[in-house]
């Protein structure tokens, strides 16, 4: 599978380094290794969601209990979770770090990914959710640490968009 195992490990190590103890997730192709790593890590609690909006609640509960968490999803998962993000994370001022695999951009070959990818950044911007791209392995750990710092200090959602150049190894 051309999903990058090495870079998935880099992202997972950065999650661990940010003192995250709980990951909630729905799978998508680019996330398979990351989810497997969380599943195989005895120190990590993996919550397998039925629908992404639940993850916003799970992360809020973890925050109340003093535990750091991240949500793993793709563009459509983010769009699915909007009501929870607005009604829990934004309304109640709760930190939420979202790692969104950024499908549908340049290089996308699956027609069905293209619409969700197109709308992710405009929706993040409309909600004033700070976001940055992750495209190179060397930027992953410092950027994820900074994203977590901002989520915790601003008590708000923050998004990192995991790009094709980071997650996918197939030559274009």
């Amino acid at each position: 599978m051309p999903v990058s195992v090495a870079n998935s490990q880099v992202v997972y190590d950065a999650i661990k380094h940010a003192d995250v103890k709980l990951v909630s997730a729905l799978p998508e192709t680019w996330l398979v290794h990351l989810i497997r790593m969380a599943d195989e890590d005895p120190e990590m609690t993996l919550v397998r969601l039925a629908k992404e909006e639940e993850g916003v609640g799970v992360s809020a509960g973890a925050h109340f209990a003093g535990v750091r968490s991240v949500m793993l999803m793709q563009n459509h998962g983010f769009l699915q979770a909007i009501n929870g993000i607005v009604g829990v994370s934004l309304l109640y001022k709760i930190p939420l770090l979202m790692l969104i695999t950024d499908r549908g951009g340049f290089g996308e070959k699956d027609p069905w990914q293209t619409e969700g990818g197109k709308h992710t950044r405009p929706v993040l911007d409309a909600l004033h959710i700070a976001h940055e791209d992750l495209t190179r392995p060397d930027e992953v750990e410092p950027r994820l640490a900074k994203a977590m710092a901002l989520a915790q200090s601003s008590l708000s959602p923050v998004a990192l968009l995991l790009g094709r150049d980071l997650m996918w190894e197939e030559p274009s």
């Binding site: 969601l49 039925a50 209990a65 968490s69």
Partner: protein, 206 residues
């Protein structure tokens, strides 16, 4: 629909003394107002929006503080908005979570003020949807429906003392609370709640 003799407030009174050490997450509206009317505690969190996510918040707490009992006080309208959440609870199966659902077969708090009152908008439980049956089929090890106060009290106290994920659906009267007044800003509640949860844990480990 309706005809149920069981009242939410009496159910809440029956479990109130047992909630002191628990993390309690309620939905908005009548449930929140009535629990608040019995006496607010900092370990009570009233989710004033985001219908369906009270149980997800409870799950996050239960997995993060396994030694604490978590009580989610939900309603039929909210649960129906997040039926998938029941499957997530069941597969995560936290042994310290009790899911109480007050089923009044209506969207009382959001629709009860309309002309015609609560009959204006019933939920699918009014036409036969069985939430305890759904929870059970989702994989809850314990799920049952109660219609009498004695049965509710016995089931709830048993679940609170037990160590198994439990769901109790109480078929209750679709009656407005005496007051919706809550003299507590949602953000004040939002900040006191984690302080109560985390202080107690720190205190215990010392």
């Amino acid at each position: 629909m309706g005809g149920a003799e069981l009242k939410r407030i009496d159910c809440l009174k029956a479990i109130y003394p047992e909630l002191e050490e628990c993390a309690v997450v309620t939905i908005m509206g009548a449930v929140a107002a009535e629990l608040y009317s019995l006496g607010h505690r900092p370990n009570f969190f009233y989710l004033e929006h985001a219908m369906g996510l009270a149980s997800s918040i409870g799950l996050g707490i239960a997995l993060s503080q396994p030694s604490r009992k978590v009580v989610v006080i939900d309603g039929d309208g909210s649960v129906l908005m997040n039926l998938g959440g029941l499957t997530t609870l069941a597969r995560s199966r936290p042994r310290n979570l009790v899911h109480l659902i007050f089923d009044n077969e209506t969207l009382l708090s959001v629709g009860g003020g309309a002309p015609g009152g609560y009959r204006w908008f019933t939920t699918a439980t009014s036409t036969g949807t069985d939430l305890a049956g759904i929870a059970s089929a989702a994989g809850f090890p314990r799920a049952r429906t109660v219609r009498e106060l004695e049965d509710f009290a016995a089931a709830a106290l048993d679940a609170l003392k037990g160590h198994e994920l439990s769901c109790i659906v109480a078929k209750v009267d679709a009656e407005m609370p005496k007051s919706f007044l809550m003299d507590l800003h949602m953000l004040e509640n939002r900040f006191e709640f984690p302080r109560a949860l985390q202080l107690a844990i720190k205190g215990r480990s010392e």
